[in-house]
């Protein structure tokens, strides 16, 4: 029982982080068909801002991290991606790689490649006891924050006028503009939201790992990409589910593989990914209208 609850907490907290990252990527992919690898650097920059403001009150650090990643996201859109909006998907992919690499090297230049330690959420380093079982507070809070953000994002997309416009743009960009949806506004807003999500991921992930370095966000974002592909590229619900699935599968592999095989758990994870894609090449929840983009 003890073990099951702990494994579940691990699985859902990791899955939640992947889901939030996958959503940040999925938002941008769905409105402009861009696979934004620079999302990794949004997360990394968020973590560095938290590190820089380590001594300040938490609220200030978090607010600054969110503002910084939102600004960075909107800026990359404006400078690097907007001019390419009608370009080939391959061109946009290379561009997003380039932006990612550029920001990574810029960070090495600015702050050095050495690891910096930080502990942004020291108040969560204890464990709480639920029904006689000890669970890390950080993991519980991670699960709660992820759930609240997922619910909030869903409400925003489903219940607000702007969310509706965003979903319309995601489904059929040209038609949405023809009914009057302002393309630039919607895309900039998607980037801003994506940046804000990256900052939250940075906070929770840095609290778990305890350090930051210039490649901090890379591994997370690669796995989140896998999650969005499994969930169905362009489908936000699918991205969230894919994130949770990937998190849960990797924790289960970690927990139940024989000890001598554990170092290879990622091989196992990617094997599962390949199998899922062989059976469902469009992902578990294929997006509509992927081919309609003009």
């Amino acid at each position: 029982m003890q073990m099951i609850i702990q494994v579940l907490a691990d699985a859902f907290s990791l899955g939640g982080l992947y889901a939030l990252t996958a959503l940040g990527i999925g938002l941008i992919f769905s409105v402009m068909r861009l696979a934004n690898f620079a999302h990794a650097e949004f997360v990394t920059v968020g973590a560095y801002v938290l590190f820089a403001l380590s001594g300040e009150p938490l609220v200030m650090g978090v607010a600054a991290a969110i503002l910084a990643t939102m600004a960075l996201a909107v800026l990359t859109e404006r400078l690097a991606f907007r001019p390419l909006r009608n370009a080939d998907p391959a061109t946009m992919l290379i561009s997003s790689f380039s932006v990612s690499m550029f920001l990574q090297r810029l960070l090495v230049f600015l702050v050095g490649s050495r690891i910096k330690t930080l502990d942004p959420l020291p108040m969560l380093n204890n464990a709480v006891t639920i029904g006689g079982v000890q669970v890390s507070s950080l993991k519980l809070v991670t699960i709660i924050v992820c759930a609240v953000l997922l619910a909030g994002l869903t409400l925003f997309l489903k219940k607000t006028r702007f969310g509706l416009q965003m979903r319309a743009a995601a489904e059929n960009f040209t038609m949405s503009r023809l009914v009057g949806v302002r393309a630039n506004t919607v895309i900039a807003a998607a980037f801003a939201l994506s940046g804000a999500l990256a900052a939250v991921v940075a906070l929770l992930f840095a609290a778990q790992t305890g350090f930051v370095q210039p490649r901090f966000g890379v591994q997370l974002v690669i796995i989140a990409f896998v999650a969005t592909v499994i969930g169905g590229l362009g489908n936000l619900f699918g991205a969230a589910v894919g994130g949770f699935l990937v998190g849960i599968v990797s924790i289960l592999l970690q927990a139940f593989l024989p000890p001598e095989l554990r170092p290879f758990r990622e091989a196992g994870l990617f094997l599962v990914v390949i199998l899922v894609l062989l059976v469902r090449p469009q992902g578990l929840f294929p997006a509509r209208g992927l081919k309609e983009r003009v």
């Binding site: 006028r161 509706l164 416009q165 979903r167 319309a168 489904e171 059929n172 040209t174 038609m175 949405s176 503009r177 023809l178 009914v179 009057g180 949806v181 302002r182 393309a183 997006a287 509509r288 209208g289 309609e292 003009v294």
Partner: protein, 250 residues
């Protein structure tokens, strides 16, 4: 009804329009006009350039030459979201409902450019009264509607922007004759309210019946033009439609 050309300039005027896709010329020197309150149809076979024409008016296609003016002002290409704000609503070929969004959400999107939310809600309610099938399925994904229902939905969606000019690209394409009848009944009702309509059709008899005036387009040129009733009786009509006559109509 203000079907008469009382003002000096027409609502939509196109002069010497040229559209090219690489080496291929889709439209060459096309000139036409639509007056306020008129229903004008453009007929012609597949590949005649009909959709390019509507695309150029809506800003979807960049013209290589010529002039398009709406309400006296030039139309700028590549400013798609301005098209509807200027009063031009396009119902594109193939309907393009937002298939993953609900019927109601599709209609709400039609009113994106408006701020009178309460009036919009009333108009949507009225639409559901006229088409109870769609009212019953208001919370279902629009992609699951039949072709005819989707066509009604996109026309209603276009009307919710309160356009001055409604453009329809092949509204009868892929629909059963009975459903096409229903679509054209709806257009007749819209016309009776005084809205200006520009409709593109392969189905010439339908278009001639519905429109005040008709242009026959073939090979990217206007081959014949005139009041629909006159064209319907014109022995040259079929020849022009099928591109058998080469000189442009005077």
């Amino acid at each position: 009804m203000t079907a008469t050309a009382n003002s000096s300039s027409p609502l939509l005027s196109i002069d010497g329009l040229v559209v090219r896709y690489g080496q291929i010329t889709a439209l060459s020197e096309v000139s036409l006009h639509v007056d306020e309150g008129e229903v004008v149809s453009i007929v012609g076979p597949n590949g005649a350039g009909k959709s390019s024409l509507l695309g150029a008016i809506a800003g979807l296609v960049q013209p290589a030459g010529g002039r398009i003016a709406f309400a006296g002002e030039p139309v700028a290409p590549r400013a798609l979201e301005r098209t509807v704000r200027r009063g031009i609503a396009l119902v594109p070929e193939g309907r393009h409902v937002f298939g993953g969004l609900t019927v109601h959400e599709n209609l709400m999107l039609g009113a994106t450019v408006r701020n009178d939310r309460r009036v919009v809600d009333d108009e949507i309610a009225r639409f559901f009264d006229i088409f109870p099938i769609l009212g019953e399925r208001r919370n279902e994904a629009a992609g699951r509607l039949s072709g005819g229902e989707q066509q009604m939905l996109v026309i209603a969606r276009a009307l919710l922007s309160k356009p001055r000019l409604l453009m329809l690209d092949e509204p009868s394409l892929g629909l059963a004759p009975k459903v096409t009848d229903r679509v054209y009944e709806l257009l007749a009702e819209i016309r009776a309210q005084g809205l200006t309509i520009l409709v593109v059709e392969q189905n010439a008899p339908r278009a001639l019946k519905a429109a005040n005036r008709t242009y026959v387009l073939n090979g990217g040129r206007v081959r014949l033009a005139g009041p629909s009733a006159t064209l319907a009786a014109d022995p040259d009509f079929e020849a022009a439609y099928f591109g058998l006559r080469t000189e442009a109509a005077s």
